[in-house]
Assembly symmetry: C2
Homo-oligomer: 210 residues x 2
DNA sequence: TCTTTTTCATAATGATCGCTCGTAAATATC
DNA sequence: GATATTTACGAGCGATCATTATGAAAAAGA
């Protein structure tokens, strides 16, 4: 049984010859570029610069490595929830989510598109559980948005007949569409222009000042 | 060298023991469900009910089989072009494209989502040329839409400052987003509701009668 | 019936898959 | 230095990958 050293206290034995966090980031980018099942351990080994046994020793198996890369990609889920909850309005929350997606999907130093959306788009039945994690991530975002929209409705910012589920789905749909467009080569500017059109589907807010 | 019999004239030799078109349809659905690289020949062999050598004899190799399945999935490209060109307006062309996507992505007898969008979302460098075919398909649709939009602009149906490229990208983006939403389990009704919101981003037409 | 042509199923090709064993090397504590 | 512990790394595990060689079987024309 392997033991993950606490890193704050030096443990005996030969020290690890590579930076675990840097290796994880490289693995994330490799999965991002080529997908979960279509990235082999030997691909990862080559990209990370460490041999296969070292990968297994440090990260478990391929599935655990991908899930950890996925968590690194997603970032802190609580921060995301707070950002959506703390936005001035549901519309601004949506705009922020879309802007973040554009930045992530068209980054200069990372592969284009969404790691989760593209890397888990399809696959064998053996990877169904990993794909379910991806679906759960999208569902979580959609639920957060729907909740923020409903708050706007109950506070009178949005009309009472607003369909929060559909509106949240509009944002989620756009994010996923951005992933494919970005992978096809769309620029950030183009996606921002699309964002402006999409947000025209947003219900009129009861203007307070303007 | 194999010879694809013209089917109208009987050729000598043992007759094929399976329906080529039915086998192709089964292959299409299998690729649709599990993706291009993540579907193995043995998966296809099992699903199609024919042994591997028969697949190679009838369809060439895996790449050719997928490309043929892709063409079957897409349908007649000229029909698509004519449908978009023949629509009463660019907006109606967009609505038609989105409705078709919803029907295709949520069909009862086929896998959910888009064969091309999900089956080629990522993969190894060895399959880059096949992915490029998928991108080309999306680019073609977007170009057809942009052309139809520009016609509306030049005919005065849409405002002269309409950005045809962005508007076409909005539709393409929505189609691709629908693929992921459908795969995540979204109903056709939900996607139709999203369509209504998306089309609110469409520029106001100069109303002729109403 | 005999030859020709095509398809069939079995079995095997070399390569790669995810993963692990065994041993040498490098650090800690004693 | 001795011992314990951990990692590095070459080699190899069985399984599966896409693909094909082989030869029997089934049809046509002679």
């Amino acid at each position: 049984m392997k033991k993950t050293s606490p890193a704050n206290k030096r443990s005996p034995g030969r020290p690890r010859g590579f930076d675990r966090q840097a290796a994880l980031e490289t693995a994330m980018k490799t999965f991002w570029a080529h997908g979960y099942e279509t990235t082999s351990i030997s691909d990862l080994s080559r990209a990370m610069g460490i041999n296969a046994p070292a990968i297994y020793s440090a990260f478990g198996d391929k599935k655990q490595l991908f899930l950890e890369a996925m968590r690194l990609y997603r970032g802190d889920p609580q921060r995301q929830a707070e950002a959506i909850a703390g936005a001035a309005s549901a519309r601004e929350a949506a705009a922020m989510v879309l802007a973040n997606a554009i930045r992530t999907f068209t980054g200069k130093d990372t592969p284009k598109g969404c790691l989760v959306g593209t890397g888990l788009a399809t696959g064998s039945p053996a990877a169904a559980d990993v794909r379910a994690e991806g679906t759960a991530m999208r569902d979580t975002l959609e639920a957060l948005l729907a909740g923020r929209i409903e708050r706007d409705v109950s506070e009178g910012v949005l009309p009472p007949d607003t369909d929060a589920g559909t509106l949240a789905a509009l944002v989620s749909c756009t994010v996923q569409g951005f992933s494919t467009l970005a992978r096809d080569g769309a620029s950030a500017a183009k996606l921002h222009a699309v964002t402006d059109l999409v947000l025209q589907g947003w219900p009129k807010e009861k203007s307070s000042s303007v």
